[in-house]
Symmetry: C2
Subunit: 208 residues, 2 copies
DNA sequence: TTGCAAATGAGAGTCTACTCTCAAAATATG
DNA sequence: CATATTTTGAGAGTAGACTCTCATTTGCAA
């Protein structure tokens, strides 16, 4: 409440070392989320209380809520998936489905093996527990809306164009269906299957 | 707790008139659900308490829970949509997308105008309020799974067949995308649009 | 070291979905 | 009307997500 601002520890310093305080915060946040996901996987989302999460992460329950506004936020991803970025960066003149295939491959290739394993496990957890599906719904719909916008822009059309809407819906539907199948068949190579499914869609979904 | 069963008012009677008691129960159930949906629409799902619903329906809160095990159940549909029945009844030898188009049309034609208006409004409510989307997720996924099984059976394949999975996913995706578009454009003739979208899918989703 | 600001812990408190119990009311049968 | 049975209302009780407050601790700068 004082305009003098006499004390700004990290006022736009943008140091390479973010300072102990910031690093500790990031570590705490990561620890809370990690323990939460582990407990969700082990004993279910609804059956896990915030108190248990706090205990496992060795913080106070109130601290959990300081980092994550709601229990659902513990599982929601906060950054837009790099897939959409890759798609945005792709040159025009390629069909929507082809573009999505390429962007998907690029995004996956850009991940380190650990990142890949992490995100696969997270996705898997989300798909396994229906309660988490519901929790992640807002994020998913937002991402699909973004996909629709990008595809529309690539074709120089309105996002509300029925044809764009149909293609986006079909792409999303095919991938979601694969996602659910993956839950029941964990050994599946999801990424290869995704590429194959999109290829099938691209060729008009013939029954061979 | 008595094996003599000395008193069974409606022990398999299966009368045309179900008796006052049963009729009253149905009326109460309908009233509760109607008031609940109205309140959800007017002030949101989370912001509506069961107590408010009970008051609006003029019953006790405990009565609400006697009729609906959870708050979510208030919005979930209990009978399988007649659309799936129509699809099951369709003769084989027609492509999956064509079959879905026909079944959809048949199911809609079989509805009375009031039923149609009712279900449209209910669908609309579900699509408008994200919390309801989440609540209805289990039902939706179950229906899509049923769709996948029917389509697989029609083609004499396994429901796990990737091609079947892709077609089912694409159909569902296209329809869900339409559903969301409808929310933003209430005047749209959803049924005609659905038919057009499926036709577009059937022809391989060309960008014309 | 000293003092400022931010992060934390502890704990009490609210709100609401959901459960349980029991007595009263309504409905069916004879 | 009398009696058996079901449904309801009233209300107390539980659990867990989320909020608020305040004293304590911890990182930071001079």
């Amino acid at each position: 409440m004082d305009a003098r601002a006499p004390y700004r520890p990290e006022c736009g310093v943008m140091n390479d070392r973010p300072g102990l305080r910031e690093r500790k915060k990031a570590k705490t946040r990561a620890a809370i989320r990690k323990e939460a996901l582990r407990l969700f996987r082990e004993q279910g989302y609804a059956a896990t209380t915030v108190e248990q999460i706090a205990e496992a992460a060795e913080v106070a329950p109130s601290t959990v809520f300081r980092y994550f506004a709601t229990k659902e936020d513990l599982v929601l991803v906060d950054q837009a998936p790099p897939f959409l970025e890759a798609l945005r960066a792709l040159p025009p003149g390629i069909g929507p489905v082809t573009a999505v295939r390429r962007a998907l491959r690029e995004a996956v290739d850009a991940q380190t093996p650990e990142e890949r394993a992490d995100s696969l496990e997270r996705e898997r957890l989300m798909a396994t527990v229906p309660e988490l599906w519901a929790a992640s719904l807002k994020g998913v719909t937002r991402e699909i809306a973004a996909l629709q916008e990008i595809l529309a822009a690539r074709e120089g059309r309105s996002p509300d164009d029925p044809q764009i809407r149909n293609i986006t819906g079909a792409i999303a539907g095919v991938l979601v269906a694969l996602w659910f199948a993956w839950v029941r068949t964990p050994d599946m190579d999801v990424l290869a299957e995704a590429d194959r499914a999109l290829a099938h869609l691209e060729s008009g979904l013939p029954l061979s």
